[in-house]
């Protein structure tokens, strides 16, 4: 079955600390993976995609096919990073499957 798993519902860190939001997937084909973010009172939006190998707002994510993971990382968390983060997998045919989400809370 094609699935995205985010094992942590809540991740709480202090400002300036490193942060890693975990994402594991199961997919038989070649995966395309994404991170979406939802800030408080804002709509869900794309943060980054693995195929672009980009860094957005200091966040990066590396696809590890051996471990079937796509963890989101940032070396120094900021208070404005507090949000819900969703990992998503694009299936062949265009269906985007989301994980359950991780709430990141960055404390001052």
């Amino acid at each position: 079955a094609q699935r995205v798993t985010q094992p942590e519902k809540l991740l709480s860190v202090f400002k300036g600390a490193p942060v890693e939001l975990k994402c594991n997937y199961s997919y038989s084909g070649s995966p395309e993976l994404f991170w979406y973010v939802q800030y408080s009172r804002q709509r869900l939006q794309l943060l980054l995609r693995h195929i672009s190998r980009e860094s957005i707002k200091g966040f990066t994510a590396d696809l590890n096919k051996g471990e079937t993971s796509f963890h989101l990382k940032k070396p120094f968390a900021q208070e404005e990073d507090s949000a819900m983060y969703y990992c998503a997998l694009l299936r062949q045919g265009g269906k985007l499957i989301f994980g359950q989400g991780t709430e990141l809370s960055v404390k001052p």
């Binding site: 995205v4 395309e32 994404f34 709509r43 969703y86 269906k95 989301f98």
Partner: protein
């Protein structure tokens, strides 16, 4: 650019009543999605349209849910009759698909349904 527009933002109804949600996608976006988001969960796809055609409705509970996208622009999602378990946020999203899906969806603010 207003983005994806959904209405109503909030709806409270009693069980067994009907309810409808409306979505206006970003101009020019040919693909439209309806997602269901239960509390504490990620969005789950209900139905996906390419222009007027529903290309993936396998997760839509067809006994009580229906959707349409007339003229390939606006879309309506209807529930009749509503049940207590339908309380959730209904998200609409759109994307521009030019032969290949990019995975970049633009979401609306959602319609929060409460069934009493």
């Amino acid at each position: 650019e207003a983005g994806v527009v959904q209405s109503p933002r909030y709806k409270i109804i009693e069980k067994k009543q009907p309810v409808a949600f409306w979505c206006n996608p970003i101009s020019g976006h040919n693909t439209l999605y309806w997602y269901l988001q239960n509390l504490g969960q990620g969005p789950e796809l209900l139905i996906r349209y390419e222009n007027e055609e529903a290309v993936d409705d396998s997760q839509l509970p067809k006994d009580r849910f229906s959707a349409e996208r007339l003229k390939g622009v606006d879309s309506t999602l209807k529930i009749q009759p509503a049940e207590l378990g339908d309380s959730a946020v209904y998200l609409c999203a759109s994307s521009l698909v030019g032969g290949q899906y990019t995975g970049e969806l633009f979401f609306g603010e959602g319609s929060r349904l409460t069934v009493l």
